[in-house]
Symmetry: C2
Subunit: 351 residues, 2 copies
């Protein structure tokens, strides 16, 4: 990034501030961060076991060794999970689970109007806090890049946020997820969980184009693993078939999308498919970004490896990869990180 687009100040919470931990409760992952660069993520299929949420948050806080005196800056997207009849029900359930797990720690909830609500107030106004996590990341980036027009791009496991910023202000138009989809500010594509049948209708196979099986047979994690952008992880079973995230299993999952198996689909076939899906998925993010006439773009999230490709194709003058400023962990849990940083600046110890 050139000198005009350097971050203006600190990305991190002040070290002498009261301690806040940011907590971001998604539908498939729980994320936690201390605002100083430390962060963690735990896979949790909320839609499958909503009653286990409080226990899962308790474990997350314990594994993260969150201090007893730390307060919790909460944000969420998990209220959309289909275990909840409405988003309002989901918001209330997520707040209650967090309070259960908080063990007396103070909890404040981020609202889309940039306030921090008490849990009681948040439960009274679910639309204000539903899917507000993007707003935190966008505000943190806006504070760091106060010049010109730019865009914050958070490429996650499931979705991608593409949020326009101008002269230090967030200028997104979508206030809820439906409006954000319509505005192209929420792009429902990610580098792990997106099923292939939602990305493409056809895939290349030995010189021909084959229609894709409309099943949850493989996801983009298989694609980016084969392309070397995600590491193998034998203990990761958050895959389409629950088998490990390793190359051989990934090839077999991709095979199944064409109703093939390892007897008729090899690693070369897998790489061909992976490159095709990667190109389509990248183009989708490029398209969303190109709507914004951005001079600069800041990339966060597990998919920040797409920054060079997306930035070039969207002809953005300056791109920045957030992990370069404060490390990979916080980049991957950026809204949780931003929650801790912003709460610490904005709330301090005034609770």
């Amino acid at each position: 990034m050139n000198a005009d687009h350097q971050p203006s100040a600190e990305w991190l919470a002040p070290s002498d501030s009261p301690r806040w931990v940011g907590l971001d409760i998604g539908g498939a992952n729980l994320k936690i961060a201390d605002g100083r660069g430390r962060a963690a993520s735990a896979a949790f299929p909320l839609w499958r076991e909503p009653r286990g949420l409080a226990t899962a948050i308790t474990s997350l806080l314990a594994n993260f060794a969150a201090p007893r005196e730390a307060s919790i800056a909460l944000t969420m997207t998990g209220e959309l999970a289909d275990c909840y009849a409405t988003k309002a029900d989901g918001v209330r359930a997520i707040i209650d689970a967090t309070l259960d797990a908080a063990e007396g720690r103070a909890v404040r909830v981020a609202a889309v109007d940039d306030r921090w609500l008490t849990c009681a107030d948040a439960k009274e106004s679910p639309p204000l806090v539903a899917a507000a996590n993007w707003r935190l990341g966008a505000r943190l980036v806006a504070g760091q890049f106060p010049k010109d027009r730019g865009v914050w791009v958070d490429i996650g496991s499931t979705t991608t946020d593409v949020i326009p910023i101008e002269d230090g202000k967030v200028i997104a138009v979508g206030a809820n997820d439906t409006a954000r989809l319509l505005a192209g500010e929420l792009v429902y594509t990610g580098v792990r969980r997106t099923p292939l049948c939602a990305v493409v209708d056809r895939l290349p196979y030995r010189g021909r184009e084959c229609p894709v099986a409309a099943e949850w047979f493989a996801t983009t994690a298989d694609v980016w693993l084969l392309l070397g952008q995600l590491p193998e992880n034998p203990s990761d079973s958050g895959t389409a078939d629950g088998r490990p995230l390793v190359r051989q299993a990934a090839v077999e999952r991709l095979a199944r999308c064409l109703c093939a198996d390892r007897d008729s689909f090899d690693v070369t076939d897998g790489l061909t498919v992976a490159r095709h899906v990667a190109a389509i998925q990248t183009a989708k993010i490029v398209g969303a970004l190109a709507r914004h006439d951005a001079e600069w773009a800041v990339f966060t999230g597990e998919g920040e490896f797409l920054a060079p490709q997306v930035g070039n194709n969207a002809t953005v003058a300056a791109t920045s990869v957030a992990s370069g400023h404060f490390g990979t962990a916080a980049s991957r849990s950026f809204p949780a990180h931003a929650a801790a940083v912003l709460a610490s600046h904005e709330l301090g110890s005034n609770l």
Copy 2:
């Protein structure tokens, strides 16, 4: 259908023949039929509980009151389920589970080359019996409509077979599922299980087009239920979210595809979405059928209600709905029905 395209003979097994039951083991449903018009289907998520298959088949045989002296004409598509490393593994596991459940009944397995194999021979040549079920339905239709060029269209819960027939002969070119996808003879779309994100990229919402969430939030069962083509069934939990197949829950599932909920998406919105998805899905089947220059088309399966729409749009002169010949149950389990009919004609008691 005009007189030239009437069925030529009997669709049913002779009543004095040795008893055969046809068994069709799919990845999501198990089907059984007696070849005389009686048939049944049981939802069974094979990919989730492969070890329960023998027990599930035992229950199916018991609930169907299959006689102890009946032999079993077996066919399958479930070997593609992602619980099996390869289709060959799947074929062997399905045959073993069937033998377990058969309790001494003879079992013969349908092959794509129109032979009936012993279980031992079938386990030696898995590609011959993998996904051979379409061949049975096609042969039965070909025998009934021996004139001119036509097409058998079996619209199921998950997939649609579109099989060309000429002068009483099946002239399909695909021998395995990948080849069948490539040939347009297997269309991976169905009236229950197909996720919306695999059918459409965008959906109409209050005068705009909204991108679709790439999640398993709703399926085509919700669409056809709202359009009155599938009945409400409070005990059917084979839906995207496991909640009942009833109208209110279907509307809420469709809402979630746009990141909305019942507070922002009502029955009218649901009907608009349903009509759009129905049109796209119908057009996909029309496109596959139109490749074949068919003079007649015979429709079977749960989705045979699409016959008039598909037949008209593909400009087929004569269409026939199979349930009119032998009832709804057998039409919905047509390959199982065909297995029983053909085994009874071709094998009789010569085992």
